[in-house]
Symmetry: C2
Subunit: 222 residues, 2 copies
């Protein structure tokens, strides 16, 4: 049962939608817009994924991954994130440059390759954007993260993820001087507009983070 890249992308999209929204079912229009396909095409494909027992599907009522579909999804996510680590750690790509390439690499079929890549990278726990890498069993170890804009003055924390993955946002974060897994501390929060002043442990200077930006930044409280 090797699945086509197209099928894998549908599965991954269903996973991403249900997982990130924390809901049971994904619906046709959501998939249509995420995959840049027309809703009619999505309907079409959903029937086929249903026949292959990758999804539970009742017409007009959205879809949900089966056990099998879920495990396929996790493996693709695992590959995607491992390749992103490779691109950043070994080939020195920036974190905003790797997604499109990983979109291709995630469809390479070879279990042994993934195993060895994982080992070569020293079994990383998260990708360059802080997202957890499912282990070989498919278990995802989620971090206890909160959004930076929910934190209080004097809180110490580790910058551990982002909720937005656009090139522009990622570059914005880089320009601020923030790097993943760095220890930071909130120095001050402006009441009026929620502007957050943050000290980066490794730096002397502080930086200022707008509240919209802060809402897309995930941290682990210490």
């Amino acid at each position: 049962m090797p699945f086509s890249a197209t099928e894998e992308n549908y599965i991954k999209a269903i996973y991403a939608l249900t997982h990130s929204l924390g809901v049971e079912h994904a619906n046709t229009n959501q998939l249509s817009s995420r995959l840049n396909n027309k809703a009619a095409s999505v309907s079409d494909m959903l029937q086929r994924l249903f026949e292959k027992k990758l999804i539970d599907y009742k017409k007009y009522h959205g879809v949900k991954l089966t056990k099998k579909g879920f495990s396929v999804a996790i493996q693709i996510v695992r590959k995607h994130r491992l390749w992103e680590v490779f691109l950043v750690e070994k080939l020195n790509f920036k974190w905003d440059e790797v997604h499109e390439i990983a979109e291709q690499l995630e469809h390479i079929q070879s279990e042994e390759l993934v195993k060895r890549l994982d080992k070569f990278l020293h079994f990383p726990k998260h990708d360059p954007h802080g997202d957890p890498i499912p282990d070989i069993k498919g278990i995802v170890h989620e971090l206890k993260q909160v959004e930076l804009n929910t934190c209080k003055v004097k809180n110490k924390m580790i910058f551990s993820g982002v909720k937005l993955h656009t090139k522009e946002f990622l570059q914005h974060i880089s320009n601020l001087g923030l790097k993943l897994r760095e220890k930071i501390e909130i120095i001050h929060i402006t009441d009026f507009d929620g502007l957050i002043e943050v000290k980066i442990n490794s730096n002397k200077k502080t930086i200022h983070i707008g509240s919209k930006t802060a809402s897309h930044i995930l941290v682990e409280l210490l």
Copy 2:
């Protein structure tokens, strides 16, 4: 102009056939058997490759890559061989395990990725089977190699390539204890059956190579 993996495989097959046989044109049946497609399908695709100006094609008279087709072919070969180096050097695959994976990886589209991979691997000149890796300009630096079975007693040489790439043959060579780029010397050749006794520079013992095997081994004379 991104080409499909299918188109790329046709281009690569035309390149391989004309290059390895040292002829101008590849014909439909050769492509059919190399690509495991029916001749009718090949005919079909050839028309499309012609329209895309990747090949010169006159019905019934075989095909030849255009400048453009040639440059596409070289880039795919370059990617295939760089990935093979990566798999062997970095992920510790054996030289008989990498071809199928590289067949997939060679279709990943990103010039920057290839550039960086090349650098990461320290600009290797040849792949794990001794085949030359086209440089970034697409120039192939072919080695002056001869088949081992054409060499004479006392000749000193470097084992630098193989003419057969099947898993069985590659494993056979490994089992003999031969490693690419090792210095070897012919100690004795049995007149009757052409059996060659070879000393491997790095070893104490000598090994015996049958003449059929020897005919698939390429060496650089010193």
